[in-house]
Symmetry: C2
Subunit: 144 residues, 2 copies
DNA sequence: TTATATTTGTTGCGTATTCAACAATTACAA
DNA sequence: TTGTAATTGTTGAATACGCAACAAATATAA
């Protein structure tokens, strides 16, 4: 069997590219003293676009499981960034709402995200990016 | 400010695509009763191509830090898949070597990897994949 | 209405990840 | 050669992730 170059495979390249973007985002957030990790950022983006949704909804929207969301909300709540409020009609669920602090963070945190992505795409043409995004979306679709 | 669609960004799409491939690989490994996680798989691929290297070398080759490699090697050693052997000329370092079991796993595990990638790329043309890989490599280069 | 199934969130467990600090060893410069 | 760097691996702490099991609440079927 010919040697398979694992480290040049699609899966590996994808993994390393993602990790690098993740670390860059973490770096920018830390530099600006925004007390949020990239994973928490992911949950927050969903809330910025969709405030006061349930943890279940957050889990679906961030491609994670409920247990995970429980713990991330625990931390965000401890940091005073979100609050758990009772759901009006379903006593199993919470409504996760942004606090003022949580809302105030958005502009700067979003700038970190934009900057990380901009860094990562330097020298890439819009056409190349379009094809790349299409492939990534296709991958997601194929595996979902 | 216009609403920024975080969930359609390059960073998010990259993250979700990677997670999906990761989960698919985990699924295939589990189905075949290969006692290795995708993260351990990553370390193993490096050893299959480059046996008996140091943990530092493994960390560089897998885009992780040394602490991480220490713990993954702990697990792989406990599972009887690799062994720590003393380095001939540097008493700080180990040589990580595959056991027979570690070598025997390769064929089947590699098949899991290939299958996961094949699943993820169904319907993607070679030309599209080429562009996508170029963008991903560029991202890695930009952020390294 | 009542019994059963499903949904929502939580918790335990094992693994993964980064950061910072540390000891032992090695490399290097004065 | 001796004192200072740097390197290698380890550990602790905090966060993250997926899976399985669980209780409480809700939905649904008999």
């Amino acid at each position: 069997m010919a040697i398979y170059e694992y480290d040049k495979s699609y899966g590996r390249t994808l993994g390393i590219a993602y990790t690098q973007v993740y670390r860059r985002l973490a770096k920018y957030l830390k530099e600006r003293d925004i007390p949020v990790t990239p994973d928490q950022f992911r949950v927050l983006t969903h809330l910025w676009q969709n405030d006061s949704c349930s943890q279940q909804h957050l889990a679906e929207g961030t491609n994670r499981d409920r247990a995970n969301v429980t713990r991330i909300i625990d931390i965000l709540e401890r940091e005073g960034i979100v609050e758990r409020q009772p759901h009006e009609s379903d006593r199993r669920a919470f409504r996760i709402v942004l606090t003022e602090k949580g809302k105030a963070i958005e502009a700067e945190a979003a700038e970190c995200g934009r900057q990380a992505i901009q860094d990562s795409l330097e020298g890439v043409t819009p056409e190349e990016l379009e094809v790349c995004m299409r492939v990534l979306r296709k991958t997601i679709q194929n595996l979902t």
